[in-house]
Amino acid sequence: MSTDAHNPFSHSPMAQFEINRIVPMNIGGLDVSFTNSSLMMVITLGLITLFLMMSTRRGALVPGRWQSLAEISYEFVASMMRDTVGDSGRKFFPFVFTLFMFILFLNMLGMVPYSFTVTSHIIVTFGLAALVFIGVTVLGFIKHGFGYLKLFVPHGVPAALLPLIVVIEVISYLSRPISLSVRLFANMMAGHTMLKVFGGFIVMLGFIGGWLPLAFSVAFVGLEVLVAFLQAYVFAVLTCIYLNDALHLH
């Protein structure tokens, strides 16, 4: 696997997740190289900026095709936030919208053959999840002071059960960033590995037998596009749910 890892046509299903340094950089012993992962993030940011700037540049009352697309994506996230957080969550809309668009574009660009899926690396998704977790926790303490700890004490629980329940609640709260990041990372990595494995089947079975895995492969690409959207959506929804906990307790 290590010998042909740099070859994009390699048969190893894991070779597609290889990170290559494009511009090696080293600041004080810290490797801050510009990698293919960074390149995809820059491309993603550029595309999102271009998409939103160009589509809303005219600001017509009757939207054209691109403006409709931008308005749909705005309204999609806005209605989701209205449903889960309510009106008090409006000032966090830019954060959730940015998060959603960033993950969505990363996932979708990862579906382009021979590109790189940034969200298939756990450190990236964990960084995003840790940002959400720390932000929400700080917000909760600012909003409620030490009353935020009431989050760990659900209403209507018998006093005898409280020591157990509080421990479970604390553990479930602390595991939020892990489950949030592993969900996105595992979905993307599993999906892309599966596509690569089925691609290998097509090559192995050749012109005669390769049509069956090819059909599966096409279906899986459809499924993966759905999953790419769904995981961005789920990440945004869970962020909203955590925000709702921090703003309103429960």
Binding site: N187, L230, Y233
Partner: protein, 79 residues
């Protein structure tokens, strides 16, 4: 040499065992879509509103199975 072979054997058996977790994901996803369909056929008017919840449930159920797959892949490629 014997110990190395045993470790390799354990690695592959463990990866296979960890992949069983995906069976649970299959059951969960089927359960969610089945129940959604049952509810939607009884009350089609309310079905559209619950569609986001369906997707959320699908993603949450799938993720728990994928945790098992991650363990299997870690065993195969990292350990």
């Amino acid at each position: 040499m014997e110990a190395e072979a045993a470790a390799l054997l354990g690695k592959y058996i463990g990866a296979g065992l960890a992949a069983i977790a995906l069976a649970g994901a299959g059951v969960g996803i089927g359960h969610i879509f089945g129940n959604y369909l049952a509810g939607a056929l009884r009350n089609p008017a309310a079905a559209q509103q619950q569609f986001p919840n369906l997707l959320l449930g699908f993603a949450l159920a799938e993720a728990t199975g994928l945790f098992g797959l991650v363990v299997a892949l870690i065993l195969l490629f990292v350990v």
